[in-house]
Amino acid sequence: MTSVPSQLEYTAAHEWIRRLPDGVVEMGITDHAQHALGDLVFVELPEIGRVLEAGEACAVVESVKSASDVYAPVSGEVIARNTALEQTPETINQDPYHAGWMLRVRLAPGAAAAAVLSAAEYQTLLDTEGG
């Protein structure tokens, strides 16, 4: 059973977001996503200062099986990135929701998160996909 913490929000593309103070969100990929990808061997993160548009491919995670794009769940500017992942991508496998965070993004003024799901809705999505 994959873990879906109730205090986070999710996207259908299997990213999670955590709302921090001052209009900042933290994001990463879900436990389901890391499990489906398998052991990660490479993570590519966007530069600090890059302005993301919700839905845009903003990072790459590569496992022994495949390489996948990670999509920005919100529009905004990258203000921090977890560069430790570049040396130890397996952190995402071990702790996807905390030590495995990928980016912090300052929301663009007036930007709502794109099609974000609650934990319950995301759990329903996983059950439907049968993953």
């Binding site: 052991d39 490479f42 022994v64 099986k65 495949s66 049968g130 993953g131």
Partner: protein, 496 residues
């Protein structure tokens, strides 16, 4: 279980090098070589007798999984038997010894073969122009999308820089589009494996350069909306690119030109008989319709009266240029030519028929064992997708576990985890050259593995058991790639 074969360095015995071949004194030619460029220590080469070397490499070759030794149902790769005659004729000394810069007048035989190959490929695919130059499938794709771009540029339509790619595409398709300076618009496929037409309609417009499509797709099904897809993409001003990866399934039956594709690449090494799977050599010939013919790469073999000659930039001023130093991988082209001449038109139709029949037979038998099809309502084309999602959930065994266990039964594993959108999948392509007896033996092995999954799960999870190496550490191999051998006895002995 086979024992581990030592590396050639471990076979090394000090002093077994062929000392007769060593220079006796410093050659005069070396006198000018500055000291700082000279080796401080002898090269670290193994020293072994000729017989030891022959036995070592023969033993290694016997441990290989290959078409000549094993059933190799690696989906999307078309690992069929390559008749030895194709290789034999391609290796004739008259072909092998020809210098690539020899004048065309001295190579009319070779040029005639290549010209005929161009003509046959045009007729098999329904295209009007063919260039044999690209040296692999990926380079064929690069040529194709470069021609699409050149076409739009020549019309002054500079906004067309988007390539639409369905999510089931080969990974090379988006990579090619990116290499050609385009951006990728990915569109989903529907629950039956066909392109989502609503998403396609929403994706195309004045920025659309074209769509890259494989048909039958990597899901192992024929794209039933192809007529509608053609109308939508051409209607929006884009062109249609046919990825020829799965051409084997439709040879002599359906022609990409009749599906109104503008450009196609063919993996000649896959469909037309060159041993492949080790990274080459390949040949990615491209075919085009009238619209793209002026942009074909060069050289192409032309025919003036009864004489053959190379067509170059003077003949095709709008060409996208050369993609290889000379004519491409001529050896692969010759193998394809011999293969095609041996089959003839009737033989090519039977390739498609038997590839499809073998796939559907295997598909039906595996479903009867209780395996789940990823697209249960569809008939297989030349390959099909099984998903082990249910087994993964109920027994915690993965597609990789099953693939590894198959090795113990003497079968090369099918393609695993591709396409990415289907969880725990096996993509199985038996090809037309396998007998029913071989397919039945494969079914029996899968049946045994399914029994083990329920009754003896660890046997599957820890496979393979009978091979010289067990599970490799994929993660460490990807992260700490180290291809050097630390120190050799031979080097030590020479140094001493």
């Amino acid at each position: 279980m086979q024992s581990r074969e030592p590396t050639i360095f471990e076979c090394s015995v000090p002093g077994r090098g062929a000392t007769d071949q060593w220079p006796q004194a410093e050659p005069a030619a070396l006198a000018d070589l500055p000291q700082r460029f000279r080796r401080k220590q002898p090269a670290m080469l193994p020293a072994a007798s000729e017989l030891d070397v022959v036995r070592h490499y023969t033993r290694l070759s016997q441990r290989n999984f290959s078409i000549d030794t094993h059933f190799y149902p690696l989906g999307s790769c078309t690992m069929k038997y390559n008749p030895k005659a194709c290789n034999q004729y391609a290796m004739l000394p008259e072909f092998l010894s020809r210098h690539p810069l020899a004048p065309a007048s001295h190579g009319q035989g070779l040029l005639a073969c290549l010209y005929e190959l161009q003509e046959i490929l045009k007729s098999v695919t329904g295209m009007t122009g063919v260039c044999l130059n690209p040296m692999a499938g990926a380079q064929g794709e690069f040529a194709g999308v470069s021609m699409i771009r050149a076409y739009h540029e020549a019309r002054g339509d500079h906004a067309r820089v988007e390539i639409v790619v369905p999510e089931a595409a080969h990974g090379t398709n988006p990579a090619t589009a990116t290499m050609c300076g385009c951006t990728v618009r990915e569109i989903p496929v529907d629950a039956a494996g066909d392109v989502d037409l609503a998403a396609l309609r929403a994706a195309v417009g004045p920025r659309t350069a074209g769509i890259m499509l494989t048909n039958p797709s990597t899901l192992g099904v024929f794209e039933r909306h192809i007529v509608e897809i053609e109308r939508i993409v051409h209607g929006a001003g884009g062109l249609l690119y046919y990825d020829g990866a799965n051409l084997n399934a439709i040879l002599g039956k359906v022609r990409p030109g009749d599906m109104r594709f503008d450009v196609i690449h063919m993996n000649l090494h896959k469909t037309f008989s060159t041993p492949h799977g080790g990274g080459g050599p390949g040949a990615g010939a491209v075919g085009v319709n009238e619209r793209l013919a002026p942009f074909l790469p060069v050289p192409i073999v032309g025919k003036d009266g009864g004489r053959y000659r190379w067509l170059d930039e003077r003949d095709l001023p709008q060409t996208i240029g050369n993609l290889s130093a000379f004519m491409g991988n001529t050896g692969v082209l010759l193998r394809a030519y011999v293969y095609i001449r041996m089959l003839g038109g009737e033989g090519m139709r039977r390739v498609a028929e038997h590839a499809t029949l073998n796939a559907n037979y295997l598909f039906a038998r595996l479903k009867a064992l209780g395996l789940d099809a990823a697209y249960p309502d569809r008939r297989a084309s030349h390959e099909f997708l099984i998903t082990l999602k249910r087994q993964a959930r109920e027994y915690e065994v993965s597609a990789m576990d099953v693939a590894k266990r198959l090795l113990d039964f003497g079968f090369h594993a099918p393609t695993t985890y591709f396409p990415l959108m289907v969880p725990e999948c096996l993509l199985i392509e038996p090809t037309e050259t396998e007998s029913k007896a071989t397919l039945d033996a494969f079914v029996a092995a899968i049946g045994r593995i399914l029994t083990e999954i329920v009754g003896d799960r660890e046997r599957v999870k820890n496979a393979p058991h009978g091979l010289p190496v067990r599970r490799l550490d994929d993660v460490r191999a990807a992260k700490q790639l180290d291809l050097t051998w630390p120190g050799t006895p031979a080097a030590d002995s020479v140094a001493g």
